[in-house]
């Protein structure tokens, strides 16, 4: 029992960052914009959060910095893919390349003079610590949910809200119409470009926050490429959640669980039956299979699957 509780706690700690970014990407993709710049945006978020918190001593300024930088990076993607009608895949990849480069570069520039301006190896005075809720955190297994950081507690409110906003409000309806049938949405008087801009930028803010979770809470430090491909797992998680913000957390728990299990078994000295690399790529393989099976099944029954129809396509009123 204790092992399971610990495993769950580790999963939640690791999954927090992924959940933020996944929620963001779901909102972006729901409007029809595919943002493959997640990895770069998350890494920039992690760097900005850490550098700000390190130099000002304020964790909350760090968070704010990560949100702002996330907004800026996704605004570049929005500008290129919406206004300039550039290819979304190429634009996203370029942003990842630029973001990872810039973050790694700045990591060697924003540190203290005594460390040759390097941020690697520096520590924060404080981090987002776990806050245990008296009584509740002692419940076996479930208790793991009540001994988490402020960033995770915030998610308990954000996830239901994100689901409600998407499916029960007129704003959510607007998002879905723009992602499903931009031409019809436009004819109904919705401003397609503005909605796409708005949620691409909000998505980027969440990605920045996801990065901040890593550098301010999960592993409070800065390291080159510290997101280590989490931005790509996010793309997979969005599919696994079938673009439903309410389900974003499920995939995170499953895949975060796989990784945590791998670490705790290794730490416990088990000779792995399944090689650790197989566990490493399993999220991608499972997502690949999920996507394929759901799409094939969907040909018979329409309701199973909800990839936005206009995902990755540009839209302009003057074109046919």
């Amino acid at each position: 029992m204790d092992f399971i509780t610990k495993l769950l706690a580790a999963t939640i700690a690791m999954g927090t960052s992924l959940t933020y970014a996944t929620l963001g990407e779901i909102y972006t993709e729901k409007t029809g914009i595919l943002n493959l710049g997640m990895e770069g945006t998350m890494l920039m978020g992690a760097l900005t959060a850490f550098a700000t918190a390190y130099n000002t001593g304020s964790l909350f300024l760090g968070l704010a910095g990560a949100i702002v930088i996330g907004a800026i990076f996704s605004a570049i993607h929005a500008f290129l893919s919406i206004t300039m009608r550039a290819n979304q895949v190429v634009s996203g990849l370029s942003i990842t390349m630029f973001g990872t480069g810039l973050a790694n570069f700045l990591g060697q520039r924003l540190g203290p003079q005594t460390n040759n301006f390097n941020l690697v190896g520096m520590n924060l005075q404080s981090k987002f610590n776990n806050i245990a809720i008296p009584g509740l955190h002692k419940i076996p297994v479930i208790g793991a949910f009540f001994d988490v950081s402020l960033l995770t507690y915030a998610l308990y409110l954000i996830i239901p809200f994100a689901w409600f906003y998407m499916y029960k409000t007129k704003y959510g309806l607007a998002i879905r119409s723009v992602g499903e049938a931009p031409r019809t949405a436009s004819a109904m008087g919705l401003n397609v470009a503005r909605i796409r801009y708005l949620y691409t930028i909000i998505g980027g803010m969440f990605a920045g926050l996801g990065g901040a979770c890593l550098s301010l809470s999960f592993t409070p430090s800065w390291n080159d490429n510290m997101t280590g491909g989490k931005g790509w797992i996010v793309i997979a998680l969005v599919i696994f959640a079938t673009w439903n913000p309410g389900k974003a957390v499920l995939g995170t728990l499953v895949f975060g669980g796989i990784t945590s299990l791998q670490f705790s078994l290794q730490a416990a000295g088990f000779r792995m039956v399944i090689p650790s690399q197989f566990l490493g790529f399993s999220p991608y393989l499972i997502t690949f299979l999920t996507l394929s099976i759901l799409t094939i099944a969907n040909q018979k029954r329409k309701s199973l699957f909800s990839a936005p129809s206009a995902l990755g396509t540009s839209f302009a009123i003057d074109e046919k």
Binding site: T83, R85, L93
Partner: protein
């Protein structure tokens, strides 16, 4: 009051093809200069160091060309799929599959006479890459499974599997990772210093692809599907068959690139087998205007930016990551500029409309 609107060009401009990249590149240099100046480096000295680092002497030129080869081949690979608007972003995985296939033959097919190791190994690289691309191609053609997402996911499966092979299953008895070095007969020879025989494959592919795309019926069909799938269907062109064919072809080229680079440069399967060539290849195909000859120039520029970055570190004590920053700064204005190949800005005075 004035208003800007973006309008589709009615005629394709002859000059925009050259002017847009040049203006974009000038903007990139300017943006780069700002970043360099902000990090207290002299932009002129930095650009000079980068140029010297990538083209400064024969050895540097050879090194840049060696880096450009896998980039060019991956660019060609995805370019053919992009022709029919099939977003193969899985060249990275297909490249790695090719490297795995090659390694399998040259390390374990000991019954082969040495002279056959290289050709059979390269062939296996082609097959492995082709199959890895054929799966998402078939899924798309038969059931409409989104190819952008499937090819992306399969990248990480291939990379993870390669990691398993060189860290665990195929690891050499000595050292902590990597297979044993390939036998000499399995290593592509050098033709000019660091430039290996892969250059012939790369250049031959440029010509072959150009010929296929612009001079054959198949190329015509691919173009037609990309531009107007409905018209293509009325003409009796099978979209399904073409998607699968193009993906097999695309993966085969990426797989060959992986086999060649692993054979000639790493000379064993080890860490760094996924050199991001597949991802950069996407950018190269796009920037090269999906024209095989255009891709050569872009591939060399991108390779030069990364080889030149090393010199930035040596000459100016700048972090090597500056190279990736500058690559990004080259790409973003170019992407924005690509709009002007098909559209142009029109200024409208309010009331005059």
């Amino acid at each position: 009051m004035m208003r800007f609107i973006i309008e589709k060009r009615t005629t394709k401009s002859k000059y925009s093809v050259f002017i847009v990249p040049l203006v974009s590149f000038a903007i990139s240099l300017l943006l780069g200069a700002i970043v360099l100046a902000a990090s207290k480096a002299n932009p002129f000295a930095a650009y000079k160091a980068m140029f010297e680092g990538s083209f400064g002497n024969i050895r540097r030129i050879q090194y840049t060309l060696r880096e450009a080869m896998p980039l060019l081949m991956c660019g060609l690979a995805v370019g053919i799929a992009f022709k029919l608007k099939f977003w193969n972003i899985g060249a990275e995985g297909q490249y790695v599959s090719g490297a795995i296939g090659f390694t399998w033959v040259v390390q374990f097919w000991t019954f082969l006479p040495p002279v056959l190791l290289l050709p059979v190994g390269l062939l296996m690289g082609i097959i492995a890459g082709g199959l890895w691309a054929g799966v998402p191609g078939t899924l798309k053609a038969q059931w409409g499974v989104d190819e952008t997402l499937t090819t992306l996911m399969l990248n990480y499966v291939a990379i993870g599997y390669a990691e398993y092979l060189y860290i665990d299953h195929w690891k050499a008895p000595f050292g902590n990772m990597g297979t044993p070095k390939f036998p000499d007969a399995a290593i592509l020879p050098s033709v000019w210093g660091r430039v290996h025989a892969g250059v012939f494959f790369a250049l031959a592919l440029v010509v072959i692809l150009w010929f296929i795309l612009y001079k054959t019926r198949w190329g015509f069909e691919l173009n037609m599907i990309g531009k107007n799938p409905k018209a293509a269907r009325y003409q009796g062109v099978s979209i399904k068959k073409n998607i699968i064919m193009a993906m097999l072809f695309s993966g085969a080229i990426a797989g060959l690139a992986g086999a060649i680079h692993t054979s000639a440069v790493a000379q064993k399967l080890t860490t760094g087998v996924n050199g991001n060539y597949g991802f950069t290849g996407i950018i190269i195909a796009w920037m090269g205007g999906l024209n095989p000859f255009g891709s050569i120039i872009v591939a060399i520029v991108m390779a030069a930016l990364s080889t030149g970055a090393g010199q930035l570190q040596i000459a100016l004590k700048l972090p090597e990551a500056m190279g990736a920053v500058l690559q990004g700064l080259v790409l973003l204005p170019l992407l924005a500029g690509s709009l002007f190949n098909e559209y142009h800005l029109r200024v409208i005075k309010k009331g005059a409309e």
